[in-house]
Protein backbone atom coordinates (compact mmCIF):
# COMPACT_ATOMS: atom_id res chain seq x y z
CA UNK A 1 0.00 0.00 0.00
CA UNK A 2 3.02 2.22 0.17
CA UNK A 3 5.36 3.46 -2.45
CA UNK A 4 8.86 4.84 -2.11
CA UNK A 5 10.75 6.69 -4.79
CA UNK A 6 14.36 7.77 -4.59
CA UNK A 7 15.99 10.95 -5.89
CA UNK A 8 18.91 8.83 -6.92
CA UNK A 9 21.39 11.68 -7.35
CA UNK A 10 20.95 12.82 -3.77
CA UNK A 11 21.59 9.42 -2.22
CA UNK A 12 24.87 8.84 -0.41
CA UNK A 13 24.32 5.18 0.25
CA UNK A 14 24.52 5.60 3.99
CA UNK A 15 22.03 2.84 4.73
CA UNK A 16 20.12 4.64 7.47
CA UNK A 17 16.87 4.04 5.56
CA UNK A 18 17.73 0.38 5.27
CA UNK A 19 18.12 0.14 9.00
CA UNK A 20 14.93 2.05 9.67
CA UNK A 21 12.55 0.11 7.43
CA UNK A 22 10.36 -2.15 9.54
CA UNK A 23 9.74 -4.34 6.55
CA UNK A 24 13.41 -4.75 5.77
CA UNK A 25 12.79 -4.21 2.08
CA UNK A 26 15.48 -1.61 1.44
CA UNK A 27 19.13 -2.18 0.63
CA UNK A 28 22.12 -0.26 -0.55
CA UNK A 29 23.03 -1.58 -3.95
CA UNK A 30 26.39 -3.24 -4.46
CA UNK A 31 26.44 -2.35 -8.10
CA UNK A 32 24.33 0.71 -8.85
CA UNK A 33 25.98 4.02 -8.16
CA UNK A 34 25.10 7.62 -8.97
CA UNK A 35 27.16 10.35 -10.60
CA UNK A 36 28.70 11.32 -7.28
CA UNK A 37 30.08 7.80 -7.05
CA UNK A 38 27.86 6.58 -4.21
CA UNK A 39 26.18 3.21 -4.27
CA UNK A 40 22.52 3.98 -3.92
CA UNK A 41 19.60 2.75 -1.85
CA UNK A 42 16.86 0.82 -3.53
CA UNK A 43 13.68 -0.98 -2.66
CA UNK A 44 13.93 -4.74 -3.11
CA UNK A 45 10.31 -5.61 -2.61
CA UNK A 46 7.98 -2.74 -3.43
CA UNK A 47 4.93 -4.81 -2.69
CA UNK A 48 5.70 -5.03 0.99
CA UNK A 49 5.99 -1.29 1.55
CA UNK A 50 3.46 -0.04 4.08
CA UNK A 51 4.20 3.63 3.48
CA UNK A 52 5.24 4.24 7.07
CA UNK A 53 7.93 6.71 5.95
CA UNK A 54 10.38 5.48 8.57
CA UNK A 55 12.95 5.35 5.82
CA UNK A 56 12.35 8.97 4.87
CA UNK A 57 12.36 10.03 8.50
CA UNK A 58 15.92 8.79 8.89
CA UNK A 59 17.23 9.82 5.49
CA UNK A 60 19.61 12.77 6.06
CA UNK A 61 19.49 13.81 2.44
CA UNK A 62 15.79 13.97 1.63
CA UNK A 63 16.21 11.31 -1.01
CA UNK A 64 12.97 9.48 -0.45
CA UNK A 65 9.42 10.42 -1.31
CA UNK A 66 6.78 8.20 0.24
CA UNK A 67 3.25 7.74 -1.01
CA UNK A 68 0.39 5.83 0.46
Amino acid sequence: MGKVTFKKELCKGCGLCVDACPKKILAVSKTESNNKGYFIAECLDAEKCIGCAFCATMCPDCVITVEK
Binding site: G15, D19, Y38, A53, A56, T57, P60, V66, E67, K68
Partner: protein, 245 residues
Protein backbone atom coordinates in the same frame (compact mmCIF):
# COMPACT_ATOMS: atom_id res chain seq x y z
CA UNK B 1 -2.25 7.45 -3.47
CA UNK B 2 -1.15 10.60 -1.82
CA UNK B 3 2.18 11.82 -0.69
CA UNK B 4 2.99 10.97 2.90
CA UNK B 5 6.51 12.31 2.81
CA UNK B 6 8.44 14.56 0.53
CA UNK B 7 11.20 17.07 0.83
CA UNK B 8 10.05 20.34 2.38
CA UNK B 9 10.22 23.49 0.28
CA UNK B 10 11.94 25.16 3.22
CA UNK B 11 15.08 23.38 2.12
CA UNK B 12 16.67 24.55 -1.11
CA UNK B 13 17.49 22.17 -3.94
CA UNK B 14 21.19 22.32 -3.21
CA UNK B 15 22.54 18.91 -2.36
CA UNK B 16 24.00 18.93 1.14
CA UNK B 17 27.72 18.52 1.64
CA UNK B 18 27.48 16.37 4.77
CA UNK B 19 29.16 12.99 4.88
CA UNK B 20 27.00 9.93 4.14
CA UNK B 21 24.77 9.17 7.08
CA UNK B 22 25.57 12.34 9.00
CA UNK B 23 22.48 13.28 10.97
CA UNK B 24 23.10 17.01 10.49
CA UNK B 25 20.93 16.39 7.43
CA UNK B 26 18.04 15.12 9.53
CA UNK B 27 18.34 18.11 11.85
CA UNK B 28 18.20 20.47 8.90
CA UNK B 29 15.09 18.81 7.63
CA UNK B 30 13.30 18.97 10.96
CA UNK B 31 13.98 22.68 11.30
CA UNK B 32 12.89 23.35 7.74
CA UNK B 33 9.71 21.27 8.09
CA UNK B 34 8.79 23.04 11.31
CA UNK B 35 9.22 26.46 9.71
CA UNK B 36 7.15 25.38 6.76
CA UNK B 37 4.39 23.91 8.90
CA UNK B 38 4.22 27.01 11.09
CA UNK B 39 3.61 29.15 8.03
CA UNK B 40 6.26 31.74 8.83
CA UNK B 41 7.74 31.82 5.35
CA UNK B 42 8.87 35.33 4.48
CA UNK B 43 9.60 36.19 8.09
CA UNK B 44 12.57 34.04 8.93
CA UNK B 45 16.25 34.69 9.39
CA UNK B 46 18.62 31.86 10.27
CA UNK B 47 22.16 31.99 11.54
CA UNK B 48 24.72 29.43 10.43
CA UNK B 49 27.63 28.55 12.72
CA UNK B 50 31.24 27.71 12.03
CA UNK B 51 31.38 23.93 12.00
CA UNK B 52 30.19 21.32 9.55
CA UNK B 53 26.94 23.29 9.33
CA UNK B 54 28.78 26.37 8.11
CA UNK B 55 27.13 26.02 4.72
CA UNK B 56 23.64 25.87 6.26
CA UNK B 57 22.99 29.14 4.46
CA UNK B 58 22.95 27.18 1.25
CA UNK B 59 20.24 24.83 2.46
CA UNK B 60 17.64 26.70 4.47
CA UNK B 61 15.23 28.45 2.19
CA UNK B 62 15.20 31.77 4.02
CA UNK B 63 17.45 34.74 4.66
CA UNK B 64 20.60 33.60 6.41
CA UNK B 65 23.64 35.03 8.12
CA UNK B 66 26.86 33.15 8.70
CA UNK B 67 28.29 33.94 12.14
CA UNK B 68 31.81 33.83 13.52
CA UNK B 69 32.69 30.69 15.45
CA UNK B 70 30.57 30.53 18.60
CA UNK B 71 28.85 33.88 18.11
CA UNK B 72 25.60 32.80 16.47
CA UNK B 73 23.51 33.74 19.54
CA UNK B 74 24.98 37.25 19.54
CA UNK B 75 24.35 37.62 15.83
CA UNK B 76 20.81 36.29 16.28
CA UNK B 77 20.26 38.79 19.10
CA UNK B 78 21.20 41.64 16.81
CA UNK B 79 18.91 40.37 14.08
CA UNK B 80 15.96 39.77 16.40
CA UNK B 81 16.12 43.15 18.10
CA UNK B 82 16.36 44.87 14.74
CA UNK B 83 13.20 43.20 13.52
CA UNK B 84 11.35 41.58 16.42
CA UNK B 85 8.61 40.32 14.10
CA UNK B 86 10.95 37.93 12.35
CA UNK B 87 11.48 34.37 13.48
CA UNK B 88 15.17 34.08 14.17
CA UNK B 89 17.08 30.89 14.80
CA UNK B 90 20.67 29.89 15.34
CA UNK B 91 21.99 26.46 14.44
CA UNK B 92 25.16 25.50 16.28
CA UNK B 93 27.50 22.59 16.90
CA UNK B 94 28.95 21.53 20.22
CA UNK B 95 32.35 23.09 19.66
CA UNK B 96 30.67 26.25 18.49
CA UNK B 97 28.11 26.48 21.28
CA UNK B 98 29.62 24.73 24.28
CA UNK B 99 33.27 25.64 23.86
CA UNK B 100 34.17 28.92 22.20
CA UNK B 101 30.58 30.19 22.32
CA UNK B 102 29.48 29.20 25.82
CA UNK B 103 29.41 32.83 26.97
CA UNK B 104 27.18 33.92 24.12
CA UNK B 105 24.65 31.12 24.59
CA UNK B 106 24.45 31.61 28.36
CA UNK B 107 23.91 35.32 28.04
CA UNK B 108 21.37 35.02 25.24
CA UNK B 109 19.57 32.50 27.44
CA UNK B 110 19.71 34.60 30.58
CA UNK B 111 18.50 37.64 28.69
CA UNK B 112 15.59 35.51 27.58
CA UNK B 113 16.05 36.80 24.05
CA UNK B 114 13.14 35.54 21.97
CA UNK B 115 15.10 33.35 19.57
CA UNK B 116 15.29 29.63 18.92
CA UNK B 117 18.58 27.76 19.14
CA UNK B 118 19.15 24.35 17.63
CA UNK B 119 22.17 22.69 19.20
CA UNK B 120 23.77 19.78 17.39
CA UNK B 121 25.69 17.71 19.89
CA UNK B 122 27.83 15.19 18.05
CA UNK B 123 30.47 14.95 20.73
CA UNK B 124 33.24 15.97 18.34
CA UNK B 125 34.67 18.77 16.24
CA UNK B 126 33.48 17.51 12.90
CA UNK B 127 34.67 20.10 10.49
CA UNK B 128 38.24 20.41 11.70
CA UNK B 129 38.76 16.68 11.63
CA UNK B 130 37.80 15.11 14.89
CA UNK B 131 39.23 16.97 17.86
CA UNK B 132 37.71 16.60 21.30
CA UNK B 133 34.55 18.60 21.98
CA UNK B 134 33.22 19.77 25.36
CA UNK B 135 30.64 17.00 24.98
CA UNK B 136 33.02 14.20 23.99
CA UNK B 137 32.26 11.21 26.20
CA UNK B 138 34.70 9.90 28.77
CA UNK B 139 36.69 7.18 27.03
CA UNK B 140 35.79 8.38 23.54
CA UNK B 141 38.77 8.87 21.21
CA UNK B 142 39.48 12.10 19.37
CA UNK B 143 42.56 13.48 17.65
CA UNK B 144 43.44 15.59 20.69
CA UNK B 145 42.79 12.73 23.13
CA UNK B 146 44.11 9.79 21.17
CA UNK B 147 43.91 7.35 24.05
CA UNK B 148 40.33 8.30 24.84
CA UNK B 149 39.00 11.19 26.87
CA UNK B 150 40.19 11.09 30.42
CA UNK B 151 38.61 13.39 33.00
CA UNK B 152 41.91 14.01 34.76
CA UNK B 153 43.78 15.34 31.73
CA UNK B 154 40.96 16.32 29.39
CA UNK B 155 38.30 17.56 31.78
CA UNK B 156 34.68 16.50 32.05
CA UNK B 157 31.94 16.65 29.43
CA UNK B 158 29.44 19.50 29.78
CA UNK B 159 25.71 18.92 29.82
CA UNK B 160 24.42 22.03 28.19
CA UNK B 161 20.68 21.65 28.82
CA UNK B 162 21.28 21.06 32.51
CA UNK B 163 23.51 24.12 32.64
CA UNK B 164 21.10 26.45 30.85
CA UNK B 165 18.15 25.17 32.87
CA UNK B 166 19.59 26.90 35.97
CA UNK B 167 18.95 30.27 34.34
CA UNK B 168 15.80 32.34 34.64
CA UNK B 169 15.67 33.55 31.05
CA UNK B 170 14.90 30.46 28.93
CA UNK B 171 11.30 29.51 28.30
CA UNK B 172 11.93 26.04 26.93
CA UNK B 173 14.84 23.62 26.93
CA UNK B 174 14.68 20.06 25.63
CA UNK B 175 17.17 17.42 24.65
CA UNK B 176 16.23 15.03 21.85
CA UNK B 177 18.05 12.44 19.78
CA UNK B 178 18.45 11.73 16.09
CA UNK B 179 19.47 8.11 16.62
CA UNK B 180 16.28 6.35 15.54
CA UNK B 181 12.87 6.95 14.02
CA UNK B 182 11.01 7.39 17.27
CA UNK B 183 13.52 9.88 18.57
CA UNK B 184 13.48 11.84 15.35
CA UNK B 185 9.71 12.15 15.59
CA UNK B 186 10.04 13.45 19.14
CA UNK B 187 12.76 15.81 17.94
CA UNK B 188 10.39 17.24 15.39
CA UNK B 189 7.86 17.98 18.11
CA UNK B 190 10.48 19.74 20.14
CA UNK B 191 11.52 21.89 17.20
CA UNK B 192 7.92 22.80 16.53
CA UNK B 193 7.42 23.81 20.12
CA UNK B 194 10.62 25.82 20.19
CA UNK B 195 9.48 27.87 17.21
CA UNK B 196 5.89 28.11 18.41
CA UNK B 197 7.25 29.61 21.62
CA UNK B 198 9.05 32.26 19.65
CA UNK B 199 5.93 33.05 17.68
CA UNK B 200 4.08 33.34 20.98
CA UNK B 201 6.74 35.70 22.33
CA UNK B 202 7.67 33.40 25.18
CA UNK B 203 11.37 34.00 24.91
CA UNK B 204 14.50 31.95 24.48
CA UNK B 205 13.97 28.34 23.49
CA UNK B 206 16.56 25.67 22.99
CA UNK B 207 16.64 22.19 21.50
CA UNK B 208 19.70 20.01 21.86
CA UNK B 209 19.91 17.17 19.35
CA UNK B 210 22.20 14.21 19.91
CA UNK B 211 23.67 13.71 16.47
CA UNK B 212 26.16 11.44 14.76
CA UNK B 213 29.53 11.99 13.11
CA UNK B 214 30.31 8.71 11.38
CA UNK B 215 33.42 10.15 9.78
CA UNK B 216 35.26 11.28 12.85
CA UNK B 217 33.89 8.58 15.07
CA UNK B 218 35.30 6.14 12.50
CA UNK B 219 32.04 4.23 12.34
CA UNK B 220 29.55 3.29 9.66
CA UNK B 221 26.45 5.47 9.60
CA UNK B 222 24.34 2.81 11.30
CA UNK B 223 26.97 2.11 13.93
CA UNK B 224 27.02 5.83 14.55
CA UNK B 225 23.27 6.21 15.02
CA UNK B 226 23.27 3.32 17.43
CA UNK B 227 26.11 4.99 19.32
CA UNK B 228 23.83 8.00 19.58
CA UNK B 229 20.91 5.94 20.85
CA UNK B 230 22.99 4.07 23.37
CA UNK B 231 26.23 5.65 24.58
CA UNK B 232 25.21 9.25 24.01
CA UNK B 233 21.70 8.99 25.39
CA UNK B 234 23.22 7.35 28.44
CA UNK B 235 25.46 10.27 29.08
CA UNK B 236 23.01 12.96 27.96
CA UNK B 237 19.53 11.98 29.11
CA UNK B 238 16.66 13.03 26.86
CA UNK B 239 13.81 15.15 28.08
CA UNK B 240 12.45 18.57 28.84
CA UNK B 241 14.71 20.52 31.19
CA UNK B 242 12.71 23.66 31.36
CA UNK B 243 9.31 24.77 30.25
CA UNK B 244 7.77 28.05 31.29
CA UNK B 245 4.05 28.28 30.67
Amino acid sequence: MSIVFEKTSFLTDTSMHYCPGCTHGIAHRLVAEALEELGVKGHVVGVAPVGCAVFAYNYFNCDMQQAAHGRAPAVATGIKLTDPDNIVFAYQGDGDLASIGIAEIIHAATRGTNITVIFINNAIYGMTGGQMAPTTLIGQKATTCVYGRNAETNGNPIKVCELLATLTGPSYIERVSLGDVKSVKQAKKAVLKAFQNQIDGKGFSFVEMLSSCPTNWHMTPTQATSFVSNEMQNMFPLGVFKEVE
